[in-house]
């Protein structure tokens, strides 16, 4: 497949892997030799190199995020070239590597968001208290990126143009088998009620963390739960309202122009909100470190309010798409 977007995706993932490999070798040196009290030339060199490495990583993670968007958008636009594919689902179903690529990319998005927040926090402590933790975390992220590069490579190189794939209609249907089918089988009433409860909980947790300036983990847990519930709700009910079709459960078709790209307005705030609430849990434990306590006290409320802002944006968009929908699901609701 010599499609330009595919070439770009492969190129970007290889570049990001290389950047992280470079950063990882540096991380080893940091873990071994870092000593902030020392004024030795080695220490000075290490300190200067942190500027390079964190710049590399900021770019790497930014490009990682953009490549997630490009990956989904590209899967959408490739769907025209395969028999049976109507949207990204069909393209992801082409071979066993499609879905893992997507999931790894999403995981990397969250990991990079957390890392960037930690990096920002650490750079505000005059003795860089988190530096070892930060670079150890980076070593954990490396296998994710390398795996993503390999899996994505397989996904794109093993695309058989003549293969007949199955699309959302079969995967996300209550009659089929597997997780996707079970999710699609959840009744709208149940999923909407759960969504509302999770919304209330996550907003409450966010307000609490923002006002008290501690216990960020609470927001992280609630945020993660709200994320999962939101995805389930999109598949099991919100998508139905957007398509105005009682049995079409696809989470990707909402990204299409035909539905006003409403999917992007749902997913982007949801992902940002989740990333922010996850990082809240990684920020608040450092409150007790002298050099960080003030920064944590300033940052945690900002992160929490931002997370809430994006969550509320997501909930409002979801509510709006249900509200304007001409689909009435009398028999399902009552």
């Amino acid at each position: 497949m010599l499609n330009p977007a595919i070439l770009v995706l492969l190129m970007v993932s290889i570049i990001i892997s290389t950047m992280l490999l470079v950063a990882a070798t540096f991380a080893f040196r940091i873990l071994r030799h870092w000593d902030i009290q020392s004024g030795s030339e080695l220490q000075l060199r290490l300190e200067r190199r942190t500027y390079l490495v964190s710049t590399l990583l900021i770019w790497a993670f930014l490009f990682e995020f953009l490549s997630l968007l490009l990956f989904i958008y590209n899967a959408e636009s490739l769907s025209g070239q395969f028999v049976g594919a109507m949207c990204a689902t069909g393209v992801l179903n082409l071979n066993p590597w499609g879905w893992p690529t997507l999931f790894l990319k999403i995981a990397m998005f969250f990991v990079s968001a957390i890392w960037l927040v930690l990096n920002y926090l650490d750079n505000r402590g005059y003795d860089y208290p988190l530096i070892r933790f930060k670079y150890a975390l980076l070593l954990l992220a490396l296998p994710l990126v390398v795996a993503e590069t390999i899996v994505q490579w397989l996904h794109f190189t093993e695309m058989e143009p003549n293969l007949i794939t199955s699309c959302c209609g079969t995967l996300f249907s209550a009659d089929a088998q597997g997780i996707s089918a079970e999710v699609s089988g959840i009744t709208p009433a149940k999923s909407i009620v759960t969504l509302a409860i999770s919304a209330i909980l996550v907003i409450a947790a966010g307000v609490w963390v923002a006002l008290r300036g501690r216990s960020g983990w609470l927001l992280s847990i609630m945020g993660a739960a709200a994320f999962v519930i939101a995805l389930l709700a999109i598949i099991s009910s919100i998508s139905l309202y957007i398509y105005e079709h009682p049995h079409h459960h696809c989470p990707f078709c909402i990204l299409k122009q035909g539905h006003g790209y409403v999917g992007y307005f749902l997913y982007i705030p949801l992902f940002l909100a989740t990333a922010l609430s996850l990082s809240a849990g990684f920020v608040s434990p450092w409150r007790k470190i002298v050099s960080l306590s003030q920064t944590v006290a300033e940052m945690l409320p900002v992160i929490s309010w931002l997370a809430l802002f994006f969550f509320i944006q997501f909930y409002l968009t979801a509510a709006w798409s249900v509200w304007v929908s001409r689909l009435t699901m009398m028999e399902v609701w009552w």
Partner: protein, 227 residues
Amino acid sequence: MLIELTDVRKAFNQGKPNEFWAIQGITTQFEVNRISCLKGASGSGKTTLMSMIGCLSRPTSGRIRLQDRTISSLPERFLTQVRRHTFGFIFQRFNLIPGLSVVENIMLPAYPLGLKASSLRNRADRLLEQFLLADKSDNPVEWLSGGEAQRVAICRALINDPQILIADEPTANLDSRLSREFMALLDELSKSGKTVLISSHDPVVFDSPVVDRVVELEDGVMVAGET
């Protein structure tokens, strides 16, 4: 006391055959509101010592305290923050950026502070007036005479209203009349509450009546000037 040095040492090319200790254990203090002078031949380590006091570099070992804060173990990011609020620098060769106007050169140290543009400009204009440069404000710095360039460098050192002024061989490029004028300026600044630290091997400077204390360095050790 304002600045306290405890057994400060600085090495270059550490671990290599050409390892060289420029400063070999200096312990002293510098007081507020005084003009102190570091005296010594070139290579005696006075510039290295000044750059460590001024937060431009970190000692290899030893401790430097600025008021009640240890600055010798701060990473560069925080060292810079301390530096730009506490120190103003006047360099031997003035080090103005050619191509920029006088006023732009003066405002340069304040850019990373993100002040409001109008208040920054006001501050620069006041300094220019104080140092009789108001009519030169928009000229490129290449047009200035030696004495004017020196005064622009002083304005630049003062833009962030630092407590301490550090001057490295300030009179090296000035004739003796301008040098004496410069010392008079420093005296004025000292009287207005600034602490001044000069490094020099120019007798006009270290024999000047305005200098309160002379510290003499030789091969990285203090040989005279204990208080």
